[in-house]
């Protein structure tokens, strides 16, 4: 079957590339899947960032978040001018905002109010009413009359008709038709209205319109502060009191549209907006503020920490990925070798040979990568930065690059194959020294730089990200250098034994290792990524628990103005309670430590507190010359002899302010038995805390429920527990997403390791089968042959398990020195690596299983591929 000869360059290349297309297709598939993964990862991260930012903004109160402000209305000539012009000016604020801020800011609401004036209430009430009149252009949508009719406009004649909220009406017993004396005209209640406030923004920004506030002070009548609505057209007649009052405006923030990619632009935009007052017509002014910038900044820190952490976990994989690609490319190259050797012998220059292979690399990688990127970007749309966009492209281009680098025209002609042994070029030591030196440099700079407070300031620092990859590569270099020594020793010791398998296996592992650098790298990196992920997952979890516990102050905290004597005993009796302590916090106590300061004093049974919080010391009781106390402060101060409310005292130790939750900048802890009666009473009402430690194995949230029921007699009890707080923290997308992400990176590491072992083992199939053929002829049994094959993978796998585990355990120590995880986990102290032996062991076991399976698969596939090689020991 002849076929038409193609004599042109393109036709010849077509023939060349289409020969042995299966290997190329496999590499193309590998590239496609990898590029899809690399394209997906930044998109998933960008979406995670978006979700985290939205979650943070949505869980922030509207009071803090909304763009809101208070100002002064101008003094206009006519009402129409006034209302419309003000409305336009306020709406223009939004229209004048730069993108992306404008996109998040919703339509404004505003209210103009007179200042409050005391109104005499009908029906002789024991109350004072301070009432403000308000104009709201959207009043007909907001105020729904439940009684009466909405007021008519006040034009300077007759009474001023007003609508009051049902809450105000009930509080001060107002009815429709009530007339209240007022200046400049009496007020007539024409309507009692319900304020429709579906998003709660009126309650937040103009709460007195929805419900009145009541101020109570001893020896005076309670004062009710409320607001009544008048017809907007009353503005003209009321322009004087209005100009003397205030204007409140707010723009809701729509968090569902925020994107993490815009975080850096949003912050300065929001800050600039808050620092520039808005000019209103006729001399009015409005100052706006929003907590958006702070929330975005805080959250961005956390997201950046997550990104950095994931980049760290994944950067090691980059090395394995290169190794896998290199092995795949090598498979194609091996198939092309005879053709390249022939072309080179016929006079193809080095550039020609390389160009042919680079072109093949491009043909393999570019179409499939373009398709992968297209599919991923269609399915998972996201806004990406330049790095996110470049990564998949660079990954795809790695393939032609590897084709170019691994095509070595010098090695195509091997004059004496019989004399070919595993020798390494001069380039290897230079490369190895460079890798080790770079790793050392990177480590040194990390250690010298220390923990960076905000990982966002650094972003995904190349130094931090490259460190694990470089360290892993350096470790691999050392492993491959050191690895033969113990084997040589072993080989010498095994010589005296009768079995040939171990001697042969050890000799082969030393002199002609079947699996090269790529496999060693993949094994060490694979396991270190698995171990690293396990340790980091535990570290993050424990860091979160630690910071939550710091925030709660114990496993469960109950707080109220006062607990009864029986409450403590009742809580202590509860199932699951290990210990409980009652703390009384008195504020405004004078502490003389050279100068006088006002502090909070925590009075408790320190022995009971020590049972709940073993980190807090037991202070001595009565009978001392001076009152022993513990000082909690943020400042660097170490006073010894002090006076607490004139009582001589001695500071036994100084601790951080956050050691007990919810206290002032400076506080002292004293034992209740040591404090003289009547001393340090402070000003104002004390408040009490009940700290509970739960038994091992008991659930804090269940204990919290029981405790809340046990002290249920108090109306103002507030209960927090670590479980609930932890669940709240974990509801954050990044916290919730980090563990799956670490798990995914561990799984990817396992898959890549498996691929590497299979590919490297397949690449060694030819030499293995030649050797097995010889050994079979020499009379080795099948069992012995299997042993010889096992020696191929065994020593390097054992070394990888040892080195990879140790390295994976050490890497988190390096990382936590370089990367501050506090934005992520919160808390006072940077979290330290926590190793959970069972989890690490499970990871190692999974890894060993994967390697064994990969080895078996490779040997089985290799046996099917090259059955004839076992006996053919000829020239090739």
């Amino acid at each position: 079957m002849s076929r038409r000869s193609l004599l042109g360059d393109a036709g010849l290349l077509r023939r060349h590339y289409s020969a042995g297309w299966r290997a190329s297709l496999l590499v193309a598939l590998l590239v496609g899947v990898t590029v899809a993964g690399v394209a997906l990862a930044p998109r998933a991260l960008a979406r995670l960032g978006d979700r985290e930012l939205r979650h943070a903004l949505m869980t922030t109160s509207a009071t803090e978040l909304d763009l809101a402000g208070i100002g002064q209305l101008g003094y206009a000539d006519t009402a129409a001018q006034q209302n419309v012009a003000t409305d336009v000016a306020i709406r223009n604020v939004r229209l004048g905002l730069p993108e992306p801020l404008r996109d998040l800011v919703g339509q404004p609401h505003w209210l103009a109010r007179t200042s409050a004036s005391t109104v005499t209430l009908p029906r002789e009430q024991q109350l004072t009413l301070d009432l403000r009149l308000a104009i709201d252009l959207a009043w007909d949508q907001v105020a729904r009359p439940v009684e009466g009719r909405l007021p008519d406009a006040y034009d300077g004649r007759g009474p001023i008709e007003v609508a009051v909220s049902r809450a105000l009406a009930e509080r001060v017993h107002l009815r429709v038709g009530d007339r209240l004396p007022n200046d400049p005209a009496p007020l007539l209640v024409t309507a009692i209205v319900e304020i429709d406030d579906p998003d709660g923004s009126y309650a937040v920004h103009s709460g007195d319109l929805v419900a009145p506030t009541v101020q109570e002070a001893p020896d005076t009548l309670p004062t009710v502060l409320g607001t009544a609505l008048v017809h907007p057209d009353s503005a003209s007649a009321l322009r004087e009191p209005m100009a003397g009052g205030s204007i409140v405006a707010w723009f809701p923030i729509d968090a569902s549209r925020v994107r993490y990619a815009d975080a850096d632009t949003l912050q300065p935009q929001a800050r600039r907006l808050a620092s520039t007052p808005v000019e209103l017509p006729n001399g009015g002014r409005l100052s706006l503020r929003t907590g958006l910038a702070d929330v975005v900044e805080r959250t961005s820190d956390r997201i950046a920490s997550t990104y950095a952490l994931l980049a760290l976990a994944l950067s090691g994989l980059a090395g394995v990925l290169v190794a896998v690609f290199a092995l795949g490319v090598q498979t194609v190259l091996d198939r092309r070798r005879p053709a390249l050797a022939l072309a080179s012998a016929r006079g193809a220059g080095r550039m020609q040979v390389r160009a042919v292979m680079v072109l093949e690399g491009l043909l393999i990688a570019v179409p499939v990568s373009a398709l992968a990127i297209l599919v991923v970007s269609t399915l998972v749309p996201a806004t990406l930065g330049p790095v996110g966009r470049a990564l998949p492209v660079l990954t795809a281009l790695l393939v032609p690059l590897l084709f170019g680098v691994l095509t070595n025209p010098r090695t195509l002609h091997q004059p004496r194959r019989d004399l070919r042994v595993a020798t390494h070029g001069r380039g290897r030591p230079v490369l190895e020294i460079a890798v080790v030196a770079l790793a050392a440099l990177s480590l040194l700079s990390l250690v010298r730089r220390g923990v960076v407070e905000s990982s966002r300031a650094v972003g995904i620092d190349p130094l931090v990200v490259a460190a694990p990859a470089l360290l892993t590569a350096a470790v691999c270099v050392l492993v491959l250098r050191v690895f033969p020594w113990p084997l040589l020793l072993l080989q010498r010791r095994l010589r005296s034994r009768r079995g040939p398998v171990a001697v042969l296996g050890a000799a082969r592992a030393v002199r002609s290792p079947a699996l090269g650098f790529a496999a060693a790298l993949a094994l060490v990196v694979g396991l270190s990524v698995v171990t690293f992920s396990a340790v980091m997952a535990t570290t993050i979890r424990s860091g979160l628990e630690h910071s939550v516990r710091e925030g709660v102050g114990a496993d469960v905290r109950l707080s109220a103005a006062r607990f009864d004597d029986g409450d403590l005993a009742a809580v202590r009796r509860l199932a699951g309670v290990d210990a409980a302590a009652l703390l009384t916090v008195r504020s405004g106590v004078e502490l003389d430590l050279g100068r006088t300061a006002r502090v909070e004093v925590v009075v408790t049974d320190t022995a009971a507190l020590h049972d709940v919080r073993p980190d807090l010391p037991v202070l001595a009781g009565r009978g001392q010359d001076a009152l022993p106390l513990l000082l909690g402060t943020d400042r660097a101060e170490e006073p010894e002899d002090v006076l607490l409310d004139q009582v001589p005292a001695v500071v036994t130790s100084v601790v951080g302010r956050d050691l007990l939750p919810g206290l002032d900048r400076r506080w002292v802890l004293v034992d209740q038995s040591a404090l003289p009666t009547g001393a340090a009473e402070g000003d104002g009402e004390p408040r009490e805390l009940l700290l509970v430690r739960v038994q091992d194995g008991a659930a804090a949230d269940e204990v919290a429920g029981l405790a809340a029921a046990a002290v249920g007699g108090h109306p103002d009890v507030e209960v927090v527990d670590v479980d609930e707080e932890l669940a709240a923290v974990s509801s954050s997308p990044v916290v919730g997403g980090l563990r799956p992400a670490l798990l995914v990176s561990a799984l990817v590491a396992l898959v890549l390791t498996m691929l590497t072992v299979v590919l490297a083992s397949l690449a060694a199939a030819r030499s293995r089968h030649q050797m097995l053929g010889v050994l079979r002829i020499l009379g080795m049994s099948r069992r012995q042959l299997r042993g010889v094959v096992a020696w191929e993978l065994g020593p390097i796998a054992v070394t990888a398990v040892l080195v990879g585990t140790v390295f994976g355990l050490l890497l988190p120590r390096v990382i936590t020195r370089a990367l501050d995880l506090r934005p992520f986990v919160g808390g006072r102290t940077p979290p330290q690596p926590v190793v959970e032996p069972l989890l690490v062991l499970a990871g190692v076991a999974a890894f060993v299983g994967v390697v064994v399976v990969a080895g078996l698969v490779a040997v089985a596939v290799g046996r099917r591929l090259a059955p004839a090689e076992t006996v053919k020991m000829g020239e090739r």
């Binding site: 079957m1 002849s2 076929r3 038409r4 000869s5 193609l6 004599l7 042109g8 360059d9 036709g11 010849l12 023939r15 060349h16 289409s18 020969a19 005879p338 053709a339 022939l342 072309a343 080179s344 012998a345 016929r346 006079g347 193809a348 220059g349 080095r350 020609q352 002609h413 004059p415 004496r416 004399l419 070919r420 042994v421 020798t423 020239e875």
Partner: protein
Amino acid sequence: MTAQIECADLVRIFSAEGVEVQALQGLTLRVDRGELTAVVGASGSGKSTLLSILSGLDVPTAGSANVAGHDLLAMDTRERTAYRRHSVGFVWQQTSRNLLPYLTAGENLAMALAVARSPRRQRSARVGELLDLLEVGAVRDRRPAQMSGGQQQRVAIAVALANAPEVLFADEPTGELDEASSQLVFDALRDVNERLGVTVLIVTHDQRVSHQVRRTVQIRDGRLSTEVLRTTRLDAQGVEQHHAEEYAVLDRVGRLQLPEEYLKALSLKDLVRLELEPDHVKVHPTADEEAPS
């Protein structure tokens, strides 16, 4: 006659991890332009190493080698590439090393032309010309697996000649062929030598081949040991008489290798006694004599 191939004191040592193999130990050889020469020798004598060096695929450790005006020890990469493209062609024993299995005969030729950047439009004519010259024009559109062994080797010769080399090297070109095919391939080589004037150097085990060339050189232990020159003379009756005369090679410092059969016949070993006569040198065995004190 000008020398097309000139080697002097060629040494090639392979060394790897403590193992050192001296494949050529000061080989000296001169082949004139247009000559057809056979190189014979036992396995491991250094024949293939010599051919690798001459074809520019390997570099000698010491000595001098000059082929078609190229100093093989002084060539840089660029010159070496040009040398392989235009100055020499070669044919190996295994077809798999000569032809790419997935290309047709025409395409294999075109590949050699493409490597040398020969213009596309000239290729078809050149391919046809060479295949016809080697009498394999019929298999132009067939792949190697669809040809006989002899056809494959003749296509391989055509490929080797694609870029009009001055010298053609052939390493056991008939090694895997039956007698008839061998003869066809050898005839093709001789034809190429005669019609195109290409210098041909054949490394062979095949006695039939070596007996058909005018000059056969034998390599032993990495050195040229003997040389057989065949001449054809007409006797008194006008009948062609073939004469073969074997010469031992004397190197520049006076060393020579005695043929194996001479050594065996006279039990020449270790020490021999030389005697200078007016027109020749006598070599006497010393086994029966008393060893010199």
